[in-house]
């Protein structure tokens, strides 16, 4: 088992390198470079050239990449080109904000998903099943950024129950209650997709167990006990749990649209901004950290899966 883990982690390194090379390449493929983005639109080309030289951006790509890599290896992610602030501190804060949102959306989405899924499985074929299934499908079919806008209009502008944007009150309050209020709408918008996905998996997973001969018999006879409940949970859980792990990854990485609509200062917002500004150090840093996280997450999910389901051999 340990050799497997170590091997996977080691294999993760070339993956991460590959990720950074791709992003670096994409950024430089895109017309416009960080210097262009940083200077006012009025500035003529010769000023752009001059600054580019002074900041070392006229060196060939592989050279620039290698220099970046060397610094990252010792933990120096460099400074943002646009703001001159160290990438790591921006990153820490942004990721923290996204984590907050991701965790609460995960809690909401997973709880609802499991609840609806089990209900649907037990009420299979009935109207409850249909309603729950319809909710789940709606969750994965709705464009969540559009739902976010609708939520703002209904709950913020029309009803004025909740704030429309940001992570804390504009007047600078820092209470937990204030934070919670700001989290509600984005959490709901973000939790739709995980809710739908988890619900469907839970439903099919639980159904599979319920359709086992002996379980069906016991249900038909009206005999249900804790043992059976445990049996259902233990056997239905594995695929659901692994899927939860994967969905958490989605929440971390796919929150960019919701964060943009709510002006939530998370990593998605930061990434969008840095793509727009061609802010290479920030982009590289964020992508690297996110990718590293995914590699580890994937690894954990795979380990979990193989531990729970011994049928799957790991060579």
């Amino acid at each position: 088992m340990w050799s497997y883990i170590v091997r996977r982690l080691l294999l993760g390194i070339p993956t991460l390198l590959g990720v950074t090379i791709i992003i670096f390449g994409l950024l430089h493929l895109a017309p416009g470079d960080p210097i262009n983005a940083m200077l006012p639109p009025d500035a003529p080309q010769e000023v752009v050239q001059m600054i580019r030289e002074q900041m070392g951006f006229n060196k060939p790509l592989p050279v620039q990449y290698w220099r970046w890599l060397k610094r990252v290896a010792v933990g120096d992610f460099g400074n943002s080109i646009a703001t001159r602030r160290p990438v790591l501190s921006d990153l820490r804060e942004a990721l923290g904000n996204t984590f907050m949102l991701a965790i609460s959306a995960a809690c909401l989405g997973f709880t609802l998903g499991v609840g609806l899924g089990t209900t649907a499985a037990f009420a299979q074929g009935g109207w409850l099943d249909k309603v729950a299934s319809a909710t789940a499908i709606a969750g994965v079919s709705l464009p969540h950024y559009w739902v976010a806008i609708l939520l703002i209009i209904i709950f913020s502008v029309e009803l004025n129950w909740l704030p429309a944007m940001g992570i804390r009150s504009t007047s600078g309050a820092t209470s937990a209650w204030d934070l919670a209020q700001h989290m509600i709408l984005p959490t709901v918008a973000l939790s739709l997709i995980p809710m739908g996905v988890i619900m469907r998996m839970t439903r099919s997973s639980v159904l599979e167990i319920l359709s086992q001969e002996f379980v069906m018999t016991l249900r038909a006879k009206g005999l249900w006990s804790r043992t059976i409940t445990r049996h259902v949970v233990k056997n239905a859980a594995p695929p659901v749990l692994t899927l939860m792990g994967l969905q958490f990854g989605y929440l971390l990485g796919g929150s960019v649209l919701v964060e943009t609509v709510f002006s939530w200062p998370g990593s998605g917002f930061l990434l969008n901004l840095s793509i727009f500004q061609r802010d290479v150090p920030v982009l590289q840093g964020v992508i690297l950290v996110l990718a590293a996280f995914f590699v580890i997450l994937n690894l954990c999910v795979d380990i979990l899966h193989s531990v729970i389901d011994p049928r799957i051999r790991r060579t």
């Binding site: 590959g18 950024l27 079919s141 559009w146 609708l150 998996m201 695929p239 960019v256 990718a291 997450l297």
Partner: protein, 303 residues
């Protein structure tokens, strides 16, 4: 794309002859067809898709107006206005017409990348699974790199690099969807390859070519195809999300995501018209989801 669902797949040797309803012997495909015919929800979903697709294709004949001509004086007319059943957009163009034409762009942007990814992904995956060894390692590690990106971000990054436009959106999304399909294809091919199904199937009395074709289709292409159809709904949403950010289709073309983008500022003047493209995305996505669910159940693909 750790976020694109890719569960474990456990293929099973599909007998040549299956027991259909009332004990009648049927071939696999006959059984699939029978199941589909009885699944009302899937049929309805297929019907909706057919309706949306055909209205998109027949848009020039069905649309009462030109999607590019608008009368500024009539901008943002309400639903049910005279002459404009679904109102007009911010340039005064008829919404019904724009939604019909928008369907063309959105469907193309949704289906084409999945189709391309299906071709490239299956090819890569089947090759990797069949050949094994170094080739497998190379292909799968390459896919791992892309797999470490969240799909939305990868799409944004690629679109940002290539520029806006329908073609670039299709390229970006094809790149985004190829790795998961490759992974699935490799997984099923590896497992199928490991069987001694030749002996097992021969024991049931069928010819070699028929066996291969049958097992391949049922156990390899089947799951891949069903999985791909689940991706269509995701693709429609991401494509419209890109247009929403300004990276997708360019104006003045009609595309649902782009329309959501340009109309969202008008939401305070006229609440319902800006919601219409969102409704269309929702319906299309939902229909594809239901269809793929139904196909999965009918083909007995245990995904």
């Amino acid at each position: 794309m750790a976020d694109i669902v890719l569960p474990e797949y456990a293929p099973n040797v599909t007998p040549d002859l299956l027991e259909g309803p009332a004990g009648r012997p049927m071939s696999y495909w006959q059984l699939v067809g029978w199941r589909l015919r009885r699944d009302k929800v899937t049929l309805a979903a297929a019907g909706v898709i057919l309706l949306i697709v055909s209205s998109a294709v027949l848009a020039p004949y069905l649309a009462p107006y030109d999607p590019f001509q608008g009368s500024i004086r009539l901008r943002l007319a309400r639903i049910g206005s005279a002459g404009h059943l679904l109102g007009t957009d911010e340039q005064g163009r008829d919404m019904f017409t724009r939604l019909l034409y928008g369907g063309r762009m959105s469907l193309v942007a949704g289906v084409t990348p999945v189709f391309i990814a299906l071709l490239t992904g299956s090819t890569l995956g089947i090759i990797a699974g069949y050949l094994g060894g170094r080739v497998n390692m190379l292909i799968m590690r390459l896919m791992d790199i892309f797999y470490a990106f969240p799909s939305v971000l990868l799409a944004i990054a690629i679109s940002g690099a290539l520029g806006a436009g329908l073609g670039n959106t299709i390229i970006a999304l094809s790149i985004v969807f190829t790795p998961p399909i490759t992974r699935l294809a490799e997984s099923v091919t590896t497992q199928v390859r490991a069987w001694e199904f030749m002996e097992a199937a021969r024991a049931s009395g069928a010819g070699t070519l028929a066996i291969i074709r049958h097992q391949m289709i049922a156990n390899v292409l089947g799951p891949i195809f069903v999985y791909a159809t689940t991706l269509v709904s995701v693709s429609v949403i991401i494509a419209s999300g890109l247009s929403f950010l300004g990276l997708g289709v360019s104006p003045p073309h009609a595309e649902w995501g782009l329309m959501l983008n340009t109309l969202r500022q008008s939401i305070y003047v006229n609440t319902w018209v800006p919601a219409l493209p969102g409704v269309m995305i929702f319906l299309t996505s939902m229909a594809f989801n239901l269809l793929s669910d139904g196909l999965r159940d009918a083909m007995d693909v245990r995904l």
